[in-house]
Amino acid sequence: MSKLPFIFAVLLLLVALAFAIDVAFGPVMLSAAELVDGLLGRGDPASISNVILREFRLPRAVAALCAGAGLGVAGFLLQTQFRSPLAGPTELGISSGAALGVAALILAEPLLPTALLTALGPWPVAAAAALGAAATMALVLVIASRVWDSASLLLAGLMIASACGAVISLMQYFSDATQLKAYSLWGFGGLGGVTWPQNGVMAVCVGVGSLAAFLLSRPLYATLLGDSAAAALGVPVRAFRMMTLAVASLLAGAITAFCGPIAFVGLAVPHLARALVRRSDPRLLQPACVLVGAALLLVCDMLSHMPGLGRSQAVLPLNAITSLFGAPAVLYFLLRRAGRSA
C-alpha cells in the first residue's frame, strides 16, 4: 500500500515529461530559449517558433493528453462492466459507428455544396463521427435494456461493429480514389488536425466523463463479481450498466470524432494500469488509467513524428505506433504477472 503514492508520483512525472518532450520536438527544431519564450507567451506572437508552438505542438500535445486519458477511462469502464479483458471502445462498436459516420460523410461530400463544407472546416467530420458513435451507442443501449447478461451484450457490440465495418467496405467499393484516401487518412487516427476549439470540447467531455466514471467507482467495483452478485450487493445493475455505457460512449465518441479511431489505447491502458498499481479498486485504478493513458498516447505521438524530426513533415500513422509499441508492453506485463503467479 505504501508504494502507491510513489507509483502515482512517478506516473505524474512521466506524463509531465512526455508532454514536455512532445512539445519540444517536431519537424522544426526549436531552441530551448524559443520554447520557453513561446510557452510563456513572450516575444513576437507572429514569429515562426511561437506559431508552431501555439498552433501545432501545444494543441497536439493537449489532444494526446485528453484522448489518452479519456480512452484509458473508457476502456477501464467497459472492461470492468463486461468483465472481459477484451472489451474496449472499438469492440463495442463505438469506434465503428464513428467510422461509419465519417465514411458516409466522405462518400456524400460531392453531393454537398463545397462552400458550405469549406466554411465549416473540420467540424462536419467531427459531427459525423459523433453522430455515428452516438447512434451505435444508442443501439447498444437499446439492446442492453433487453439483454440481461454482459457477455451477450459484448457479443451484440461485436456484431454491430462488424456490421458497420461491412457497410463501410461497401461504401469504399463505390467510392473513388480521393474519397478512399480521405477516409483512410481519418482512419489512421491522428492528433495533428485537432484545433484549440476542438480541444476545448474534447477536454470538457473527457473531464465530465472521467469525473462521472470516478463517481461510479463503488458500484463498478461490485460489478467485478458479476451481475447477480452486484445486484445482491445493492447495485441497480441495469440502470448502472446504462450509466456506464453512456459515460464510455461520451468519452470514446468525443475522442474518435476529433482524433479518428485510435486503436489499442482503450484496450491496453487498463491492463498496464492494473499491472502497475496491483490493486483492483476503481478508486485507485481509474486515476491510474487517466495517467497511464495520457502518458502512453503522448509517447506514441512523440514516436509518430520521430522520423520527420528536424527534416520533414513526415508523421507516421498514430494507430500503427500505438499498436506497435503498446502490444509488446502489454505482453511484457502479462508474462511478468504469469511468471510471478507461477
Binding site: 467495483y221 461490485a222 463479481l225 445482491a232
Partner: protein
Amino acid sequence: MNGTFADAVAPAPPVLVSARGLAVGHGRQALFPPLDAALRAGELVCLLGGNGAGKTTLLKTLGGILPPVAGSVTVGGETVATLAPRLRARRIALLLTTSQLPPFLLGRELVSLGRTPHAPWLPGRAARSHESDADIVQRVMAALRCEHLAERRLGQLSDGERQRLCLARALAQDAPVLLLDEPLSHLDPPAKAELLSLLQEWVRAPFPEGPSGSTPERVGRTVVAAVHEVDLALGFADRCLLVAPGLPPFLGTPEEAAGEPLRRVFPGWPTFWDPLGLRRGRGVRGVGESGDVHRAPGAGRGGHYGERHPGKA
C-alpha cells in the same frame, strides 16, 4: 440469561423473514406450490433439495434480486420487492455460487466488497466509516480463518480457499438476514462442520451489534443455507426447508424433516446412513429404521431424484 426460568418466560424471537404465498420460478411458471414461512431471528435454516429443485431460485427471490411469480417476501416487516437496492442489501446478504471471480482480485479486496451497501458511493464522506469497514473485514476474515489469504490473488487460490473468502464477503455485509447458496461446496469435511457451527453462533450472536442498550432489539440473525450435505443439515439446522419440483415445500425441525418429508424430496435417499452420528447426538429418530427406500406418492414429477442417487440407495 441466567437460567431456565428466564428462557421459559422469554418471548419468542421476532420473525425476520416472512414469505406469504410465495411462488418462485423464472417467468410465469412456478417451480413448486406457494411457500408460507416465517423465519425467526436466531434461526439457522438449511434448504434441502436435489439439483434443479429451485433452491437457488428460491434464495434469489427471498433475496429480492428475482421477482416472485406470486406472493411476497418481507424482511423485518418491509416488503423486499419495494426496498431500494442498497437498503435491501443492508438487510439481506445473498451469497450465490460464482464460477468466475476475477483472478486478479486480492482476498482482502473480495471480502471488503461485502461492505459495498454500507459505504457511501460518493468519495470523501467515507473517512469515518472507512476504519470500521476495515475492522469488520478483519473480524470476519479472522472468524473464517482466512486472514492469511488477504494479500493473495484469487487466481492463485484453491476452490475451498476462494469459498472461504466468498463467505467472509457475505458475513462482512453484516446484514440481519444471510442467504447462502451452497456455502459448503469445495470445503473439506471438517471445515463444513466448522462452518455450520460458526453459522450457528453467528445467528445467535446479539445483532445489531454495538454497546448494550444502544438498540432496543438485539435479537440475532437469520441464516438460510442451501446445502447438499443432508446429514450435516439435520445435525446443525434449527429448521429444514425441503423443496422439490412440483411438491409443496416442507418447513420443520430436523426431527420432523428427517422422516417422510426427506424421503419425498430425495426418493432414493438411503435412510440408514449416518457416518458422523450427528443425528444420534440430537436424538433424531425416524429416518427409516427399516432402511426402506420407496417412492412417495406424487413423486412421479420428482421421481428423477431416485435415479440421480442410484449408488447410494
